[in-house]
């Protein structure tokens, strides 16, 4: 005989114990994409959801520098509101997503009267002389206030705001760093806070601390990556500018020599001009890369776009001994993308293919329907292929297999494809060639569609 249970507790009934409900709600948050606000809301929900489950109201303070600042306050403002919220939350079949949704609407909606009250609150976090609510964070102690009206350690303004005699303060700390504080009370039901409640609340405090700490670490990693990327970029730009500048400077110096003949003067000027053009191209590439900002997508005729691309690469193809084979499926739908950036992106891929095949080889350019929603532009070359070692790095900026490459081309292509909601795939076999596939979302050809 077997018994079957749902692995996730979706329904919270009165019979389920407080602890189980608490852990169930928190555990479900592990399976959500990490978002600090949502995760903290989960904790606050765990503390306040349900009639007999936890506390009536929960407020969150976050440490910001040496100040403790009010963030949000969750819970009913009055007994009537409490009734309606708890009715919603104890509806049979209500689960974790519904509770989160409900809490989010509380925070964003007009019912949110409590949060407005504490948003402006800010308390200095000085050791020794601080009052509640800052005191528990300064001393790293859980503090239960029983008789707030007659307790001189409670800040006056805060006493007015919370307007209840009994509340529990849980400091949030990680690695000796003050992160914030959660304060809970039973202002609506008036139930006393018991030892068991303190224990459960302190566990919630640990979870909340962990979330805030993780978010901080995550942000630090992102910042470090940004700094590293900036450094890399600065290095490449320096290099890309240095060679032409050295050349320009050197030949300009020669021009200053009064003995220079007319022929050499002309040659030097030509060299200087061509190096300046090179600088311009470099800057153009850089600005283009930095400015991918696609807000609006329009319907683009793939065939027309490919014709423009082919036109722009034609001179290069003609100067080499390579052939390009183009095939566009008839009746192809329009691609939803940005016409200029997408054209540039495709040209980048075709340019790469030309670089790859060198003097002799073949390039296949195909556009076809993948299925009802997607169209593909595929660029295949018979070049040497992409080495295995760089294959998964080629879309990163400043990674290039070409000695003179900026490493911006494919990074740019990827940014454009991402911005258009498309994607890019690559198949490459060393010694046999490479195929890039650009996937575009499509829409039916419409009369009057913007081209």
């Amino acid at each position: 005989m077997i018994e079957r249970y749902n692995p996730l507790l979706h329904e919270f009934s009165m019979e389920t114990s407080k602890e189980i409900q608490l852990f169930s709600i928190i555990a479900q948050s592990f399976f959500q994409p990490f978002s600090l606000l949502d995760n903290l809301l989960v904790i606050m929900t765990a503390l306040t959801a349900g009639h007999g489950l936890g506390f009536n109201r929960a407020m969150l303070f976050l440490a910001n520098g040496d100040k403790l600042k009010g963030e949000f306050w969750l819970g009913p403002a009055s007994a009537e509101e409490a009734e309606s919220i708890w009715r919603v939350l104890s509806t049979p079949g209500i689960g974790y997503p519904e509770i989160i949704e409900h809490n989010r609407s509380l925070l964003n909606g007009e019912v949110d009267t409590l949060s407005a009250r504490i948003k402006k609150m800010s308390y200095p976090l000085h050791k020794g002389e601080s009052l509640i609510p800052a005191l528990p964070v300064s001393t790293n102690e859980i503090v239960l206030v029983r008789d707030a009206r007659n307790e001189s350690l409670v800040d006056n303004r805060f006493r007015e705001a919370i307007d209840t005699d009994e509340f529990l303060c849980i400091p949030l700390l990680a690695a000796k760093e003050a992160l914030g504080e959660i304060i809970v009370d039973n202002a609506i039901t008036g139930q006393p806070i018991r030892n068991r409640d303190v224990e459960l609340a302190s566990i919630c405090g640990l979870f909340a601390s962990n979330y805030i700490y993780t978010a901080k670490l995550q942000k630090r990693v992102v910042d470090m990556k940004k700094v590293a990327a900036m450094g890399e970029m600065a290095m490449f730009v320096t290099h890309q500018l240095r060679n032409p500048l050295v050349t320009i400077g050197g030949f300009a110096d020669q021009l200053l020599d009064p003995k220079i003949g007319p022929r050499k003067r002309k040659r030097n000027l030509q060299i200087i001009r061509s190096e300046i053009r090179r600088l311009e191209r470099t800057l153009l590439q850089l600005t283009q890369f930095l400015r991918v900002d696609i807000r609006e997508k329009s319907s683009v005729d793939i065939k027309e776009m490919l014709n423009l691309v082919l036109e722009s690469v034609r001179p290069r193809i003609d100067s080499l001994k390579l052939t390009i084979d183009v095939e566009v499926e008839a009746g192809l739908r329009f691609a939803l993308c940005d016409p200029i950036h997408t054209g540039e992106a495709v040209r980048n891929v075709v340019d790469n293919a030309i670089d790859a095949v060198g003097n002799e080889g073949k390039i296949y350019l195909r556009a076809y329907r993948e299925n009802a929603d997607w169209a593909v532009i595929a660029v295949q070359d018979t070049g040497p292929g992409i080495p295995e070692s760089v294959k998964n790095k080629i879309f990163e900026s400043f990674v290039s297999t070409k000695e003179k490459g900026m490493g911006l081309g494919l990074a740019y292509v990827k940014r454009v494809m991402d911005a258009c909601g498309g994607r890019i795939e690559i198949k490459s076999v060393e010694g046999q060639g490479t195929t890039f596939k650009l996937y575009f979302k499509t829409q039916p050809k419409e009369r009057g569609a913007k081209k």
């Binding site: 290095m235 500048l245 050197g250 060299i271 000695e403």
Partner: protein
Amino acid sequence: MKKKLLIVEDEKNLCLLYKEELTKAGYKVTAVMDADSALKEIRSHSFDLIVTDIRMPKKNGIELITQIMGLRKDVPIIINTAYQSYKHDFMTWAADAYIVKSASLEELKVKIKELIG
């Protein structure tokens, strides 16, 4: 007798510039645009000093230095590159000087003079 220099620089215009300026400074200059041509020159002629770029197509300057060392030619080498960062590659320590390319060729000329007069 004029001292003989070998310049390895893949940028056509820079290659020309170095050749002209160092010739003017009184050296006999051979300029090539890639590492393999450089090795060919080194095998068949003797040089008093080699100036090489690092980032070049096919074989880079560090590989070139390694191969020159393998030939046991006792010739001073100056690295002349647009990159600061190759200083961290210990193979560049084998060179006698590391110069970051500048629009003024003074530093290069001074280093050459220091090394071979």
